[in-house]
Amino acid sequence: MPKREEVYAKVAESLADALGVEQDEISEGSRLTTDLGAESIDFLDIVFRLEKAFNIKVPRGDLFPENLLNNAEYVKAGRMTEAGLSKLREKMPHADLAKFEKDPRVGQIADLFTVGMIVNYVINKLNAGQSQG
């Protein structure tokens, strides 16, 4: 069972390299775009670095879901529908959706992508890998 502190340390190092920030600027609650200045291409860079750092495979859309905001079934009038929230829960079991679910404005969705979310994802991946032997 991977230790959260160890996973966090490697995630923080990967993010610091990818985003050009100091590690002491990063915490579990840091939001990738709002706090750390990440842009869309950085998300791909982050995926590459996580795969290398943890020897895992991150399939497309697994860590950062795609095609949610451009689906009319999931978004109406700038807010995520119940169907969209259901899809989000399914796609992002590693994210804390509690705050977003109370006010599901799509403009706030980027706040879901936090360092802690990535740590959760990696731990789930490592546990799944270990359970497969």
Binding site: I41, L44, D45, R60
Partner: protein, 166 residues
């Protein structure tokens, strides 16, 4: 100014690496601005040459299905100036290749001297989703290989000698 920072590919191995050269001459206008009386090859154009080398490698490795766009210069270090009369050799090695994008690690040498190295990220854009003008003006597709005089027999020879990935 033509935005062609590579004169010739000397090796192009699908899925692995590419090498290309660029000759630097006093005949190019911009070296006289950079700097007046002391012409040097701009480092921004060194990056572009490496990016073009890597971009063609990435595109070629995926059959030029997508437009390959320079998205991020992850890091770049420079060790020496490049001046007219030099011949730069770019070597790009493929580190990552996915549907969304790719990453290369590269170095630039002049003779035996390493003058720069770094890594570059690319994004893949589906031509069907890009503006028509962007697709039309996109130089770094399969036709680029013809421009650089690369023949099919060259590609086969390079791949055979290096056991390139299919």
């Amino acid at each position: 100014m033509r935005w062609l920072m590579v004169d010739r590919f000397t090796e192009l191995v699908r899925g692995k690496y590419a090498c290309a050269i660029r000759n630097v001459t006093l005949g190019e206008d911009h070296v006289h601005d950079h700097f007046p009386g002391f012409p040097t090859w701009p480092r921004s154009l060194m990056i572009e040459g490496l990016a073009q080398t890597g971009g063609v490698l990435v595109g070629y490795s995926r059959g030029f299905r997508d437009m390959v766009i320079l998205a991020k210069v992850e890091r770049m270090s420079f060790y020496d100036l490049v001046v007219p009369g030099d011949q730069m050799t770019f070597r790009a090695e493929l580190e990552e290749l996915r549907d969304e994008g790719a990453k290369i690690r590269g170095e630039i040498t002049v003779g035996d001297k390493k003058v720069a190295e770094g890594s570059i990220l690319y994004a893949h854009v589906n031509p069907k989703e890009a503006p028509a003008e962007a697709v039309e003006n996109f130089v770094f597709n399969g036709n680029f290989l013809s421009l650089l005089g690369i023949q099919k027999r060259d590609l086969e020879r390079w791949e055979a000698s290096e056991g390139g990935a299919s």
